[in-house]
Every structure is written in C-alpha cells, then in structure tokens.
Amino acid sequence: MRRVYMDHAATTPMHPEVVTAMSEAMAGVFGNPSSLHAWGREARKALEEAREKVAALIGAEPGEIVFTGGGTEADNLAIKGVARANRERGRHIITSAVEHHAVLHACGDLEKEGFRVTYLPVDGQGRVSLDALSESLSDETILVSIMAANNEVGTVQPIAEIARLAHERGAYLHTDAVQAVGQIPVDVKEWDVDLLSLTGHKFYGPKGVGALYVRRRTRVLPVISGGGQERGLRSGTQNVPGVVGLGKAAELAEAELAGRARHAAALRQRLWEGIQRRVPGVVLNGPPLERLPGNLSLSIAGVEGEMLLLNLDYRGIAVSAGSACAAGSLEPSHVLRAMGLPRETAVGSLRLSLGRDNTEEDVDYVIDQVASAVEKIRSLQVGAAGH
C-alpha cells in the first residue's frame, strides 16, 4: 500500500542534513554554552552559528533571536511577556478569532489577570479586517497579535499594514509566523514587527525547538525565570542539538525557499484540479491567491471530516481535519467557524498540506483515494448533519 504524508501543516519530516547536523552535535558538542571553559565555548559557538542562520532567514539581527522550546512557548513569551511588562501603559490587547490556540489561550490567561482582549472577526476567507482593527485600537492598547499565515486555511495576513496601524497607536505588534516561516518570504524589518514566533518542526527541523524574534528595546518580561540565558528572556540551558537542527533547517529553508514554494504550488494546483474533477460538491476554504503555497483546505458536502480522515488513514494517507481536542476526538475548526462557514460545511472539512517530499504520483494517488472514500461514505450516509 502506498503511504503518502500530506499533513505538513501539522509537522514536517526532518531534512536529512538536519538529522546529520544534530547527530554530530549530539555526539560531539556536549558542553553547556554558559560554561567558561573550552567545552562550553564550543557549544556556545554552535549555538551562535545557529542563531545567525535563524536571524538570516527572517531578516533579523542575531541578537534579536531568543531560542525557546517551540512555537507555543514563543507565543506565550511574546504575549504574556509584553502584556505584563507594559501593564502600567495599558491593559488592552487585540488579536484575531483565527489564531492558533497557543495565542488564544495565552490571551485567555491574561484576561484572568485583568487584561481586556478583543478578538477581531475575519471575513469569509479568513482575512482580518483592517477597518475593524483601526476601530479597536485605542490608547489603552499595548499589543496586537495577528498570525502571518493561518494553519487551517493558509490565509496570509497583511502584516505590514497591520504593523503600521498598531504602531500609529503606540502598540507592539507580535506575529505568530509559525506556518509562514520557510514557506513564504518573511522579513521582520520589511514587515516592521516587534515580535515574531517560529518553530523548527514546520520547516523540516526538529520538534521542541523554536525561537522568538524580539526587536531591540522591546519591553518584555520573561515567562521562565532562572539562570538568565537568552538575554534573560528564556532561562535554562539551551537545547544545543535542537538549536543546531533549527539553524540547519533555517539555512536550508532560506536557500530553497523559492523552489519549495513553486513545487508546493504546482502540486497543490494538480491536487485541487484532480479532486474537483472527481468529487462533486467540493469547495475551497480560504482565499484562492493569498494563501500558503502548499495548503489545500476544502469542504466536501455530506461527508464528515472525521470519517474521511480515518478512511484515508486506513488507505495510507495522512491529512488533517478540524482540530483534536484534549481527548483526541475531532472538533470542527474554530477557524472555519470564525470564517462564517455553516456547521455542516465546517464538519465536512479536510486539510491537505503538501511538502517538499511529495510527488506527482502522491497527488494522483490521493485524488483517487479521496474520490473513492467520498463515494463510499456518501453511499453509507454516515453521521453527516442530521443523524
């Protein structure tokens, strides 16, 4: 049975060169980067080289990169760190209804600490309204957090515009760029953002390692306290092999960025056209153009996403649908509901996300299997709205 992984938005396999770089670091560079001796200095050197590569990928200075344990941690540091450091200046935070749960729940935690949070609505394609943002901004606003690209439907937000509006009112701008980094060009100077989150496992690097870009002179308090590593913003001995992997992945992403985008877009087009041809009653979720090149989010009438997902899993194909709740069963995505999709459509949604390792044969196999699974499920009329 052919096995096809088409869930790159959830995570990506590590690039072979990343694995090599990490193995070498694990075997050879074990010192604590904070130690003064030669072993420490060697580890420190590996850390700083990786820092430079990550900075280069997003157009930042190396000194502006803080290594964290992933994107969720970076989001928490950005949002809670900025809010708590600036609470004398204001208590209002603006974010969007389609953010990742890390951002939404970090904001939720801050609401319990006395902050007021506005969750901006989005249009039917998942785009944040700049007018709604303008209206929401006030002198009380200290932070705006809007993701660069959405993980469910791939919508790319106009971050530079958002930054301009936020700065006009004296608020910091944080962007969760976890999905965008490595897929589309990201430049913190061009966008003029103050904080940006990224994580290795979305661009062929390791899991459990990420970074927060913190522009110089941004007022931010750490969430994790301790020995003062990472400019005091994230204490704890750094995960040197992980960071080395992150750096390598960043280096490869920068070199291959244009090629990866072209490859993903071409396959996505082939996949979309093929599914449309073979499956009646399918619609695209999100904008046709300003979206991540590898993301295909669609809704299939009369077919529950959960059933389709399991069926495809049984045929060796990995895709995603909705979001898994704590127990592990699927709930319709909050993003699709925020976009105004009716419940039956949201429940019938599937996300396929292509990566550098997918081929035309993969795409053709998936088209076949999706068509056949949909036909079977429709004929059995399983649990779609109304049962």
């Binding site: 059933m307 399991l310 049984y314 704590a326 592990g328 069963s329 079977k376 499920i377 059995l380 049962h387």
Partner: protein
C-alpha cells in the same frame, strides 16, 4: 474500547484469531476546558480511559481512534434519560446507547471504514442459528455477568455485524487472559456507574440538567389521600421504601408516579406486587413476529431473576404479559426481556406494571 479489561481482552482475542482490528473509543463526554483534571480520572469514559485504551491498542499493534460522538450521545442517550424522568419513568440509558449509538451510529462509521463487524466486550453470545435461519442472542457462559438484558433491541442486520467473544468466557478467565497478555488494564476494577454521571449521583444530574422535572408535589395513597410531600418525582422509583419521609404503622412503598399531577403514589407491600404488565416498542430476535401467545421467562430489570410467564401479543404490536407469580415493583420505562433458556426471544419497554 473503553479502557476496561473486557474490551481490551476482546480486542486481543480477535487479533489472535486473525481479524484485522481497529480500536476505537467513542467520546461521549463533553470537553471540559478549564475543569480540574481530577474530576475526570478513573472510571469509564474519561481522558484517562482513553489513555488506557490507547496503550492497550499500541501493545496489540492495532490502529486506535477516538471518535466524536458527543452530539449523537447527547441526543440519543442523555436527552432520552432526562426526558424519561420528566415523564415519571425510570430510564435505562445503556439500552438506549446500545440501540442507537453502539450498534447503530458506530456500526455505520465502522462500515464506512470497511469494517465487517463491531466487536464489544459484552458478556453475551451472538450466533447464527441454522435451525431458525436467524442470528440469535444467547446468555453468556458467565451467568452473573450476562448483559443480554441491555442488548434485546438488536436487529438481524445489527447482529449480523456484531462480534462478542466474551460470551464464551467467565470473567475470571477474562482477567487471567488480560494478565497473561500483559495488558495494563488487567486489574482495573469494573465500572459500575452510569457512564455519563461519573459520581453516580443521578438525582443531582437530573436536578441540574432538567430542573423543571424536579418539583415538590403531593404523596398520595392509592385512594387519593394526601399523606405528605415528595421532593421531585425523579428522586423516586417504583418499589422504593426509604426516603419517603412518612410516618406510618406499616411500611409504605412507591407504587406509581403520576407526572401530570406531579404526584407520588404509595401503598402497602401488597400494592407494589403485580403479576402482569403491558409492554410496547418490542424487538423480536428469535423470530420475525410472534404468531400467538408463547411461554417464556422474563426479566423486568437488569438484576432480576427470570420468572416464567405467558406473553400475549396484541394486534397493535404491544404485548400483555402474565407472570406465574406476583413480582415486586414492575417499573414503567424499564425493559422486559423474554428468554427461553439461554435464548433471548426479544423484549420491549414496560408501559404499565399492572
């Protein structure tokens, strides 16, 4: 797979027999968000149960999914449960779950995954009886654990796609198999509660979810004299003696619940006995339809001993049942299930207990 020893061993036995097995847990409980983790630990149907089931599936090398059954279960089981109490009846949610969820919606989803059967850890035998030309349900080998009372609603097409291997095993043997296979759940205690009322306080549950059903009202004797006040009909069940709050020379028992008047009727020990009942919403397994009165043994509740009776079908599909001796507390809303030896003939819902 509930995370318990029965469904774990069922999966293991089927894998050993060469079936292509997929493990699944139906998530029937709501997501809790901020609630403290302790509340959900232990017992059937919780995140820790999912963890247990997943570990067993991993050990057996089978795929494992948690399926979203929240809406389906709410509608078909929980709402039914609350509705019955509101109508002065005592519900049996496991029967509703088997009928509408486990062997209906779950079976549909299983077929969509190309599965031929849904298998469960029920203590019951599902067999093809060539003499009758039908699929039949029989009591399990372990008579103490027999669960056929809750399974009488299964239709031929459902039975054709059901496997219940534990019908052939004593529970002690099931546990031994679990230990031999090194399953983590071997020593897990059996869960006894209603799966969606974790603390088993169903009165609290009904009061919270259907407060309009729990209103104080009059307690009357069988001649209509008011003797006192009850705290809400769902807090009582036919045959109940304790908790009435009445002083009387002779013991008083709940005889009837009258939801239209919100009244509780109590009577003497004799008045709670009856040797007949009416039932409807019948499902027949041993035959297509009864072609006349027949003799059987009937259970009027899960834990009852089967009692010989005569079942007389009516033209509207309901049945009248006469028992060989008076029974205590025949309760509307409960099921009456008819047996001939270990064969389940069929069953229905008790409408009147006299």
């Amino acid at each position: 797979m509930s995370g318990g020893v029965d469904s774990s061993v069922t999966a293991a036995l089927l894998v050993q027999e060469g079936y292509d097995v997929i493990g699944a847990t139906m998530q029937t409980w709501p997501d809790l968000g901020d609630e403290v983790e302790e509340v959900r630990q232990g017992g059937c149907c919780s995140i820790s149960a999912v963890d247990d089931a997943r570990r067993v599936a991993d050990k057996l090398g089978i795929p494992y999914y948690v399926l979203n059954f929240k809406e389906n279960f709410q509608e078909r089981v929980i709402d039914y449960f609350l509705r019955e109490y509101t109508q002065g009846r005592t519900p049996n949610p496991c029967i509703a779950c088997n009928r509408y969820v486990k062997f209906d919606e779950l079976l549909r989803r299983a077929r969509a995954l190309d599965a031929d059967y849904v298998a469960t850890g029920h203590y019951a035998k599902v067999e093809r009886d060539e003499a009758l030309g039908r699929f039949v349900l029989r009591k399990s080998v372990d008579r103490g654990k027999d669960q056929t009372y809750a399974l009488y609603n299964l239709t031929q097409s459902q039975l054709a796609h059901t496997l219940m291997p534990l019908g052939y095993y004593e529970k002690t043997v099931t546990r031994r198999i679990a230990r031999e296979l090194g399953l983590a759940t071997a020593n897990k205690p059996d869960s006894q509660e209603i799966c969606f009322v974790l603390d088993n306080d169903y009165k609290r549950f009904v009061a919270e979810k259907a407060p309009e059903a729990v209103r104080p009202g009059p307690i009357m004797d069988t001649r209509g004299h008011v003797l006192g006040t009850h705290t809400g009909l769902p807090n009582y069940t036919v045959g109940q003696r304790r908790g009435l709050g009445l002083a009387a020379e002779k013991p008083l028992y709940v005889v009837d619940l009258l939801p239209e008047q919100n009244a509780l009727v109590v009577g003497s020990g004799d008045e709670v006995l009856s040797d007949r009942l009416e039932a409807d919403d019948l499902n027949w397994i041993a035959f297509e339809q009864p072609d006349g009165p027949f003799a059987a043994e009937a259970k009027i509740r899960y834990g009852a001993t089967p009692v010989p009776c005569l079942v007389t079908p009516r033209s509207d599909g309901s049945v009248h049942v006469d028992f060989s001796r008076p029974l205590r507390a025949i309760t509307p809303g409960q099921a009456v299930v008819f047996y001939q030896g270990d064969l389940v003939v069929g069953g229905g819902t008790i409408q009147r207990g006299r």
